[in-house]
Amino acid sequence: MTGMLDMDIIDISTLTHVVPPLATTLAALPALPIAGINWHSVLFLLFAGLACGFAIAVVAADNVVRMALYLVFSLGATAGLFFLAGAEFIGAMQLMIYVGGTLVLLVFGVMLTAQAPLVSIKPSSSDRTLTAVAGASLLSLLLTAAFSVDAWRGPGVGVVPAPSATPLGMALVGVRVDEPPAGTPVGGRVGYMLPFEIVSVHLLVVLVGAAYLARAKRRRTPRPIDALASAMPVETVATAAPVATMAPTGRSAGGAKSALVGGGR
């Protein structure tokens, strides 16, 4: 999704290349106001808009399946944001696990429980009001906090050199190979071997537990084969066959029908 616009067949060029030529072109063509567009930022605006819009749509939608769909789009757009922020691995991770795995699970659950009255359970209007108030106050609080630090407000560098997942991978196995950013105290930089292992085990345990919780507990599980055991052996057929053939017994199609009707809920 993210790569669509900076796609190139023969050459490898990312937006890295864009900026210097852009600057010169900008200087050369002052008449075109659009020439000054920073595509990185525009892409950000696009994905940010998608993410926020679909997030709000999730809140607004009543149908569970649609909610799930909007959520997928919102999370996909978030993945795009991660790509833009130089966290390619996290972005791919987001796509794979969140959007792929989590959401499939969710949709699966939706399907299993998709009875007509349950698809949309409408909240009361008082709930809506209360939620609006709480949401607005929370949002304003968060935004206030976001804008409160001067260092966060300025423009970024905006250049995205091709990142590498190697430092991340090395950190996960316990070795830090990334350069500390300037001003970071050097001591205390540790790898993530232990958390990584803990998370792995946690994930395993959780999956086992989930499978246990949600598994279908069969009360009686005889196979159709078991009928063989209870069937009585009948040795002779020569006499029985014509009688049976002319008048099928009560357990044939007619029997099934009445059983079906009688057993229907």
Partner: protein, 414 residues
């Protein structure tokens, strides 16, 4: 290309937009055009397998225009929607499927550096995006308001989610051998003779390749794993209620995915764009010999990869017209009881092999993996180090070989 356009005097943003558009159209044609060819091929192959002739008339000989004619018919067909359907989702579903299948092509290299966008996490990206295709199917099944569709969708969901596990494990093995998730690097590390393909790296990769083939067939819903559209059971599964163009989008997505997993198999296991015999290298062509030579090398590579991927697709067709379909519980058994454990064991085996015999089965053959363009490949984004404007930055962030900088000397092959 973009530089070329800029050189013509076009403003940069226009140049970039045009370049991107051209790339997108090219990729789209791989899917759409490929689907046309493959549908025709499938009809002919199926016919030949079944002792028939298949299409013979449309377009003169061999019926080669048959799929185009079908396409036109589909375009002209009325797009029906069942009355109880969820309109939005019903309309959206085919495009979700198609887009997912299409997006994954962005990261698939067709030859050395002939790639939509070279991604550092290319393998990951492809597998992740390919997994999104199932959304379209689920939505289609849900929105169709048909029980058969719902059955198909549920089967698809269960199947694809399960098969992603062994598929991921299979994919990780070449990643581990190459030490990178970058598909271009993975492909380039298999340069040389056929013996340096990862398929022949060690017995474990050989076995895991077949696990991959199984899982790939299952994850793109082809027989004998085409449970989601099993026509003898579910009428047509998730696309029972679809017709016309929307249906054809599902169809294109299916063929696109087939080509994609085959291409991925080619890059990961079958040497990518490197032929069985390094013809170009033997003839003395390489990137260093000049611009035209570089193009020749890429064209040969392109032909190689397309050939391999096409072979993979044909293999799937062959299977489809030969085998009966499995039952859903058997499909799940295949995944959970066979593919996953085998993949896990093979993964561990390949790991140990790599630990003790990193040279593979034929270490003396071809060239040591990635010897020629090693330094160039390992540079950020695969760019020649000198040409990268971001070099300074990257050297502070990721430059050099971080592993070696950390003082962890890699094991040298013994």
């Amino acid at each position: 290309m973009a530089e070329f356009l800029i050189g013509l005097g076009l403003p940069g943003w226009v140049a970039w937009s045009i370049a991107a558009l051209v790339a997108a159209v090219l990729l789209l044609n791989v899917i759409a055009g490929g689907a046309l060819v493959f549908i025709w091929a499938e009809r002919k192959i199926a016919a030949r397998i079944q002792d028939r002739l298949g299409p013979t008339r449309t377009g003169g000989r061999f019926g080669w225009l048959q799929s185009l004619a079908d396409g036109i018919k589909l375009l002209a067909k009325e797009d029906l929607m069942p009355e109880g359907a969820d309109g939005l989702l019903f309309r959206l579903a085919p495009y979700v499927s198609f887009c997912a299948s299409f997006c994954a092509f962005i990261a698939l290299p067709f030859a050395f550096d002939v790639v939509g966008q070279r991604l550092n996490v290319g393998v990951f990206f492809v597998v992740a995006v390919l997994g999104l295709e199932v959304f379209g199917v689920i939505l289609a099944g849900y929105a169709s308001a048909s029980k058969w569709s719902l059955f198909g969708a549920m089967r698809e969901a269960a199947q694809v989610v399960s098969y992603e596990v062994p598929l991921g494990m299979c994919v990780v093995v070449p990643v581990m051998l190459a030490g990178t998730m970058d598909l271009v690097t993975i492909g380039e590390k298999q340069a040389g003779w056929m013996s340096s393909w990862y398929l022949f790296h060690d017995p474990f990769t050989f076995i895991i390749f077949w696990v991959y083939v199984t899982c790939a067939v299952a994850s793109v819903n082809r027989a004998p794993f085409d449970l989601a559209e099993a026509e003898s059971e579910l009428v047509a599964g998730f696309h029972t209620e679809y017709s016309g163009l929307r249906w054809s989008f599902f169809f294109m997505a299916e063929y696109g995915s087939m080509f994609l997993v085959s291409g991925l198999a080619a890059v990961l296991f079958l040497g990518g764009w490197n032929g069985p015999v390094p013809v170009a290298r033997l003839l003395g062509f390489s990137d260093g010999t000049g611009e035209s030579a570089a193009y020749v090398v890429r064209l040969v590579g392109l032909a190689n990869l397309m050939g391999k991927a096409t072979l993979g697709v044909l293999f799937m067709m062959w299977i489809r017209w030969t085998l009966p379909r499995l039952r859903i519980d058997q499909v799940m058994t295949t995944c959970l009881k066979y593919c996953t454990p085998i993949a896990a064991v093979m993964f561990a085996g390949a790991m140990f092999w790599q630990l003790f015999l990193p040279g593979g089965l034929f270490p003396g053959w071809g060239r040591p993996a990635g010897e020629i363009r090693e330094g160039w490949l390992e540079g950020p984004g695969g760019l020649p180090a000198a040409a990268s404007p971001a070099e300074d930055r990257s050297s502070t962030v990721t430059g050099g070989d971080p592993v070696e900088r950390a003082g962890l000397a890699t094991r040298s092959p013994r």
